[in-house]
Symmetry: C2
DNA sequence: GTCTATATGGGGATAGAC
DNA sequence: GTCTATCCCCATATAGAC
């Protein structure tokens, strides 16, 4: 099945995801999206009820169900929890960097669309918070402020090195996904002063 | 001197900085800016030559000259260098969070305006890279990939916890600037497996 | 379901009066 | 230098033909 054969609605969503990730929601026009999808401009309104509703449809369609969402954080010890988060976030980044990009844009730009994104994303950070707290109480981790530490980790994980803007700072070859997970895990557990193993 | 008395050009730049930080460059209209500044719409074109040039004027006017820019990184040992970066970035965040916000937006949205921002910001990260490399060679720091580690640190420092979006994750009282510098420094040096002192 | 043609609104810029 | 009025462009959405 080529792209041209796929359901027209999906083709539109796919084109929208690509273009939103590249240029942002506002700067991407419905015309561009439909040109990219090989569809007529009017179809966005017809099938989704406008540009904004198309955005939500895109999100519902593409956002993955990760394991963490339904996980009871008490089932995992804090170190394993932190490891899991690093792995999942990095997997997500690799499996759909466009969607990550869009989320990041929406969060940073503080759009009125983030409300709908929140419910997909927040549960994970809530669990990270739990594991940090638990890990400190068990003497595994050391830090002062839980809030500050939580945001240091979120920053480390979410920050995007993909934009051309940062290319000038790269000197090494691009790491594999596994190497990145490893480096992130080491850095974060080090930052938590975990001295296990 | 009240805001109303200030030079009209400065009042416009100040209003623009505020509104760009809140709503982004694209979603902020020249009309809004001029209303906020108590100025006439036509003045933006007259004084700056259009909305985009006003943006650059804003940037040239407000971007601080930090000490790091002219510093020779060899004059500082790597640990002191890292400490300095954490301090400077956090100071900047506190002294002008609007400008930080704007920079972040421009970087994430990959606008064509970032070119002009680059020259202000990049020298700092180049020096951080130098200190990391030097620190590893001196046996002070431990990590695998220099690139990955550099971006972990940049992510930790730049990531913004100010937006309302994250409020739900905060449980403690807001830390003082000094406490945040301390926590960030501990986390980052820990992540680098620095065991000094 | 899909198309063309058009309505509608809003934004940046500027001509020309003061 | 500052104002008002207006121009022009471009984006979304939709009416109505097929």
């Amino acid at each position: 099945m080529t792209t041209g054969d796929a359901d027209i609605k999906i083709r539109i969503l796919s084109a929208a995801k690509k273009l939103f990730a590249e240029n942002g929601f506002d700067k991407t026009t419905v015309r561009q999206i439909c040109e990219e999808a090989g569809a007529n401009v009017a179809l966005v309104s017809y099938h989704f009820g406008g540009k904004e509703n198309m955005f939500y449809a895109l999100f519902d369609y593409y956002f993955p169900n990760n394991q963490i969402a339904e996980l009871d954080p008490m089932q995992l010890d804090p170190v394993e929890g932190v490891r899991l988060i690093v792995r999942e976030v990095t997997n997500f980044r690799y499996s759909d960097y466009q969607l990550i990009n869009i989320i990041q844009q929406e969060v940073i730009m503080n759009t009125d669309r983030i409300e709908k994104i929140r419910k997909h994303v927040m549960p994970m950070w809530g669990k990270l918070r739990y594991w940090l707290k638990e890990g400190r109480e068990q003497g595994l981790f050391q830090f002062n402020s839980l809030d500050n530490t939580l945001f240091s980790i979120i920053g480390t994980l979410l920050f995007h090195r993909n934009s051309q803007y940062w290319a000038i700072l790269h000197e090494e070859e691009r790491s594999s996904k596994e190497a990145i997970v490893e480096d992130l895990t080491l850095f974060i557990l080090g930052g938590l002063y975990y001295r296990g193993e």
